[in-house]
């Protein structure tokens, strides 16, 4: 099964040999190549290159093309405030402060030529052509309630109390926008349309049923008619809305760390809806070590009695500065679960001291390139790192020494500990860390080696 087929089978609620893995790399994708959030969300070429890096390093079953809930709002006249390391925020809501909530004319619904949509559709098509056979592509649209709040501001919470009919009418309009966006994205080759509506966690399940059940049910039915899968993303403490969300009949939902995923899955299983989540964004992905990330993944997998209907994913859009090696660790834990389990066991087993003698780095006869990997045979990022080292070895021949240490072997774990290697893959030259996680290009590596010759 290709990674894409694993995801499709999961969304069809079938059993799979492996768990589907969908890293939500939005602005983080840009960080891999050093692009700012603004660059990667505005410049199609930079976005495409960044997404290709994600695809190469994280071997995803599915990946979003753009993670920005402000695309539709921008088309509809919301002023955005841009940021270097986060998606933009809506700085001005065009309908805020007006006494009455008036639904805009349907003629204002964004077309394929509005705002950033042409750029997005183009990148979607390029991704489809390049990796579409093996990776399921996610088209993310702004959910009707969040779009309503973008356009109307906080007044929407007052309207829900004052003028229920006006809110229903307005949400119909926002749903119509979502339906159109779903059409554009499905046509551009997206396999899954994810309706992202973080604000859902801010309302009670009663209000959900009163205002949201109908529009969301219609939206998911529409997406089904387009012949693609659907997902319902929330964030925040959406616990009490999980059940009403399932009742709108999406193929899957996705939750963050505020939800007890193990308990939630028992509920979603009753509705036969797949559930995705919920690697903690800050404590684990951003601030945790590579081992923390692998351990979190294994623990989560172990806690789930039934892995059918489960997709491993971050709680939400990954923070910009998530270290690449942390995501590589998660990838490896999903793809090579048992080997990672062994690694972690060996890593924590302290009693068995293995004596390691490190080379005398100050008195080497020739440059020594040491590549520390999770396992270059199975971990994509490690394969590339090892590939670069092998290339260099070809260039320099006997003038340098090169060696790989796989973390799957106990002695190598002891070596990593002794040398203080924490992130894999990484490359050391003469005992000094030179490249970590990101694979150096040929010139950069050769230059680094020449420096010590």
């Amino acid at each position: 099964m290709t990674p894409k087929e694993i995801l499709a089978a999961t969304l069809r609620h079938e059993r799979t040999e492996q768990v589907a893995w969908v890293p939500f790399a939005g602005v983080h994708a840009g960080s891999i190549l050093g692009y700012t959030a603004e660059e990667v969300l505005k410049d199609g070429d930079k976005l495409f290159q960044s997404l290709m890096e994600v695809n190469k390093l994280y071997k995803p079953s599915g990946q979003p093309v753009i993670f920005d809930l402000q695309v539709e709002a921008e088309c509809l006249g919301c002023e955005l405030a841009w940021s270097e390391e986060a998606p933009p925020s809506v700085a001005k809501h065009p309908l805020e402060g007006e006494e009455e909530l008036v639904t805009p004319c349907y003629c204002t619904i964004p077309t394929k030529d509005s705002g950033r949509i042409p750029m997005i559709l183009d990148v979607m098509k390029r991704m489809k052509e390049t990796v579409g056979d093996t990776t399921a592509l996610y088209g993310l649209i702004c959910g009707p309630f969040t779009l309503a709040a973008h356009l109307r501001g906080n007044d929407i919470f007052m309207d829900m109390y004052d003028d229920e009919e006006a809110v229903e009418e307005f949400l119909q309009y926002c749903t119509a926008v979502a339906k159109k966006m779903a059409e554009y994205y499905a046509e551009a080759g997206m396999d899954v349309i994810a309706v992202v509506d973080p604000l859902i966690s801010q309302i009670s399940s009663d209000h959900f049923e009163q205002f949201m059940s109908k529009p969301f049910s219609e939206l998911f039915s529409h997406i089904r008619q387009l012949g693609v899968f659907s997902s319902f993303f929330v964030c925040g403490d959406a616990t009490r809305n999980i059940e009403v969300m399932c009742q709108t009949n999406p193929d899957s939902i996705s939750v963050d760390e505020n939800v007890d995923l193990v308990a939630a899955k028992k509920i979603t299983d009753q509705y036969n809806v797949a559930i995705g989540g919920n690697i903690p964004l800050t404590t684990v992905m951003l601030h945790g070590s590579q081992q923390d990330n692998m351990k979190f993944t294994l623990d989560l997998l172990d806690q789930l009695e039934d892995k059918r209907n489960f997709i491993l994913a971050p709680g939400c859009d990954m923070p910009y500065r998530v270290p690449v090696e942390n995501v590589i660790g998660i990838t490896q834990a999903i793809l090579e679960t048992e080997s990672v389990r062994k690694m972690l066991e060996n890593y924590t087993a302290q009693e068995e001291e293995i004596e390691i003698t490190l080379p005398d780095y100050n008195n080497l006869k020739k440059p020594l390139v040491e590549v520390f990997t999770l396992d270059s045979a199975t971990c994509a990022a490690c394969t590339y790192m090892m590939g670069a080292a092998k290339e260099a070895k070809k260039t320099f021949g006997d003038a340098i020494d090169m060696v790989e240490y796989k973390f799957t072997i106990k002695e190598n774990i002891a070596r990593c500990k002794k040398m203080g290697v924490t992130n894999l893959p990484s490359m050391y030259i003469n005992g000094k860390l030179v490249f970590s996680s990101l694979v150096p290009d040929k010139e950069a590596l050769e230059e680094a080696i020449r420096k010590v010759m």
Partner: protein, 306 residues
């Protein structure tokens, strides 16, 4: 030490206007301001300069995200490098301030911060509405140490009293002050005291016929983690959950109120072991919340009764 004040309140409650008052109040001190929202009327540079304050805006991406607290942490770290006398934090109107308090309590690097309290702005005009529609409003009230009932010139005496009734039910120990344009008496702020969140008000002397009591019977295998999740599921619709329980071979005294789950290990007790008493009151859909929790955690909640 830097004194930190946290300002909360739903969108449009008047936080930014109040923040300006606070700036003037602390004029003469070095002040650092952290704002987690785009206000319609921002704090202008002129005023900041006049009182010698520095300001930092956190642009929180999609603004709703409650998991991205790293940005707040970083901003606070930067602020501490300057060692200001006063730090004023204006939390985003949609954010659950419980998380901010948790960060302050759990991080050693924030040990030089003296937490002075949370001031919650309540817009008298919109409160009855957003209290019904936006869940975060209750969470903001639950962590507050002082409530400023703002914009009282825009409502009738009757309306004001009915709001105060709701507020007193929701957080009986928190002092409520009435304001217009966020104008406060300096003494309200300067002599503010922290409200102990785990000790609820004594039971009322008069019978309160709206008080509802439930008993949850807890299974012995249940983990504390699961109990915390159960509390999270019901906390918005109840006042308190309390009892002695013996789970996973340990005794705990559970006492939760507001947004806080509180459990301490204790000596064994024979008094109704593994029964948690839950109190709720008028206008709160507690039965539904408890039913839902029992459905989510059938292994933990053996049964429940009224």
């Amino acid at each position: 030490m830097s004194k930190l004040y946290l300002i909360t309140g739903f969108l449009g409650a008047g936080k930014t206007t109040f923040l300006k008052r606070m700036l003037t109040l602390f004029s003469g001190n070095s002040i650092h301001v952290i704002v987690n929202e785009f206000g319609k009327v921002g704090v202008d540079g002129e005023l900041l300069k006049k009182v010698g304050a520095e300001m930092e805006e956190i642009t929180n991406g999609s603004i709703f995200c409650s998991c991205r607290l790293d940005q707040f942490e970083e901003s606070l770290q930067r602020s501490l490098q300057r060692n200001p006398d006063v730090i004023l934090v204006e939390a985003s109107g949609l954010s659950d301030p419980t998380n901010i308090k948790r960060i302050l309590e759990s991080n050693k690097e924030f040990a030089t911060i003296e937490f002075m309290g949370t001031i919650c702005l309540v817009d008298a005009v919109s409160f009855p509405k957003v209290y019904e529609t936006a869940r975060v409003v209750k969470k903001q009230l639950n962590v507050s140490d002082q409530i400023l009932l703002n914009k009282i010139d825009k409502v009738s005496e009757e309306e004001k009293e009915s709001i105060k009734k709701i507020l007193k039910k929701q957080c009986p120990l928190v002092p409520i002050h009435e304001t217009v344009f966020g104008q406060v008496e300096p003494s309200w702020i300067l002599s503010m005291e922290l409200v102990e969140k785990n000790s609820m008000a004594e039971e009322p002397v008069h019978a309160d016929i709206t008080l509802r009591k439930f008993v949850l019977h807890i299974q012995e295998d249940t983990s504390l983690e699961t109990l915390r999740y159960i509390w999270q599921m019901i906390m918005e619709d109840v006042y308190r959950m309390k009892g002695f329980i013996h789970i996973q071979n340990k005794w705990y005294l559970i006492d939760c109120a507001g947004n806080t789950f509180h459990a301490v290990e204790c000596e064994g007790s024979n008094e109704f072991p593994n029964q948690l008493v839950v109190l709720s009151g008028y206008g709160l859909p507690a039965t539904m919340a408890i039913k839902k929790a029992a459905k989510w955690y059938p292994e933990a909640i053996l049964n429940w009764e009224r």
